[in-house]
């Protein structure tokens, strides 16, 4: 038997109340976040170019690392953010969760793409080719496809509320399959290729390289969150604008409604 509790006041306006608070909070937070991100990234660049030593093997190209590695981490984190938001949206029906998931998709895709692009640029001097079908590279590429899928699904459905729910379902299915992909791709590569995977191991990183890397990672993380917050703000504003236009249309219709009812 369908039973829904009567909640006459749980209306659209109430749902918008939360985003309103979010808008205020994020409005004050934004400048600080952006400023801190810029400062840290500048400091990291300074460290990278003037303090960090050249790698004895890789020479100047090692500097790509300070962008590449944070981008790779954030690319992966973006999907985690989407998964958490999707869960929040499906379970708690919180509209902000959908806004967060929507804003995170292009951002995560951009960082993933950045990791891929810087990785391939780095690959040319290191491996002599822009691309190899190495496990890590392949799983990163598939992650990019998952982002593409999410964005394509959202763009293919008119009804925004529906699109949000369906993307949440896809986001959750994707996250359960993601570890399997990572694991399977790792396995696939070691099957077909000798263990000649060209990659420095964490511990071999010289402390002089590690410190700028950490600063840079922090800076890029703040940048990610700043952009994410900006994206969410834009999306909320866009939704409000849409609601206003719809209301306008409704009002126009309301005026002539009695004529239709006659």
């Amino acid at each position: 038997m369908t039973q829904t509790n009567t909640a006459p006041q749980q209306s659209l306006t109430q749902k918008l109340a939360n985003p309103t608070r979010f808008m205020q909070l994020s409005g004050t937070l934004m400048p600080w976040l952006a400023g801190a991100a810029a400062a840290l990234i500048l400091y990291a660049l300074y460290l990278a170019f003037f303090v960090a030593p050249e790698d004895y093997q890789q020479g100047q190209t090692v500097k790509i690392m300070f962008i590449h590695v944070p981008a790779a981490w954030l690319g992966m984190m973006g999907y985690a953010l989407i998964a958490i938001s999707s869960f929040g949206y499906l379970v708690f029906r919180h509209p902000l969760a959908d806004v967060s998931a929507k804003a995170a998709a292009p951002l995560g895709a951009a960082f993933t793409f950045l990791a891929l692009a810087t990785g391939s640029l780095w690959g040319k001097p290191m491996w002599g080719t822009y691309w190899v079908w190495d496990a890590r590279l392949t799983s990163m590429l598939i992650l990019l496809f998952l982002y593409f899928g999410l964005m394509a699904l959202r763009s293919a459905i008119d009804d925004e509320a529906l699109a949000g729910k369906l993307c949440a379902v896809l986001g959750l299915v994707g996250v359960t399959i993601l570890p399997i992909i990572k694991f399977s791709v790792d396995w696939w590569n070691t099957l077909h290729q000798p263990a000649s995977v060209i990659r420095m191991d964490g511990p071999t990183i010289h402390p002089d390289l590690l410190w700028p890397l950490i600063v840079s990672a922090l800076g890029f993380s703040l940048l990610f969150f700043a952009l994410h917050m900006k994206g969410m703000r834009n999306e909320i504003l866009r939704r409000r604008l849409r609601a206003l236009t719809m209301a306008e249309v409704d009002r126009a219709r309301g005026v002539s409604a009695p004529a239709a009812a006659e």
């Binding site: 496809f145 699904l153 379902v169 299915v173 994707g174 359960t176 399959i177 992909i181 696939w188 099957l191």
Partner: protein
């Protein structure tokens, strides 16, 4: 549960009545495999080396093309909404449809694979393994595909979008499917592990597929 069988029986009956569904999928499979030598060159050594991969990729594509039909017809003529008002939970109803897809598409494709293996000069010893691997792997194709079919039900450009959503999810099946066959035909060992993982992926999708698909459909009848 009786609703489950009723639905499964009807879906299979429709496949038969609408004639040639199975034949079409098999034909497509055949053509894609036949196109490969045209595209990649007729070198038999090369072909036999890449045969497991070609067979799996072509199978994925053939199954993929038949996915949109899982819900489309029932959605267009309003049946899906009536199905949603049945006693049967929607999760089981979607599972019945995925099962019908597997029986009418997955199994025939898996059984045809050895014949196409001949075209690609696949080692004879690989044939039993090929069929076994595909029979164990194809449920994942149907049940993960179910999610894609449900998600893209009302989306424009159904088929293409569906492919875009579903192919990444198919990658583990592809990799372990190929690994199992390669291992069995003298590649690095580990056939059993790949085979078991393949089965695990199928079981996993048996659970997750219908649940996600039912949720997606509920959202879309709105």
């Amino acid at each position: 549960m009786s609703g489950f069988w009723t639905l499964l029986k009807r879906d299979l009956l429709l496949q038969v009545r609408e004639g040639g569904a199975v034949g079409t999928a098999l034909g497509f499979y055949l053509i894609v495999v036949a196109m490969m030598p045209l595209g990649l060159g007729p070198d038999l050594n090369l072909l036999s080396r890449i045969a497991p991969g070609v067979l799996w990729i072509a199978l994925l594509l053939a199954a993929l093309l038949s996915l949109p039909r899982i819900f489309e017809a029932d959605d267009e003529d309003g049946s899906l909404e009536v199905i949603a008002t049945g006693d049967l939970p929607l999760e089981l109803a979607t599972a019945a449809k995925a099962l019908a897809h597997w029986i009418s598409t997955g199994i025939p494709l898996a059984l045809l694979a050895p014949v196409l293996g001949l075209l690609l000069n696949l080692e004879l010893s690989a044939y039993p393994v090929l069929v076994a691997t595909m029979l164990v792997g194809t449920p994942a194709i149907s049940f993960l595909g179910l999610v894609g079919a449900a998600l893209t039900l009302r989306a424009r450009r159904g088929g293409l979008l569906l492919a875009l959503l579903v192919l990444p999810l198919y990658i583990p099946t592809l990799i372990f499917g190929i690994a199992a066959i390669s291992a069995a035909t003298g590649g690095p060992s580990g056939f059993q592990a790949s085979f078991l993982i393949l089965g695990a992926i199928s079981l996993f999708s048996l659970v997750i597929g219908p649940v996600a698909a039912a949720a997606a459909i509920r959202f879309q009848t709105q």
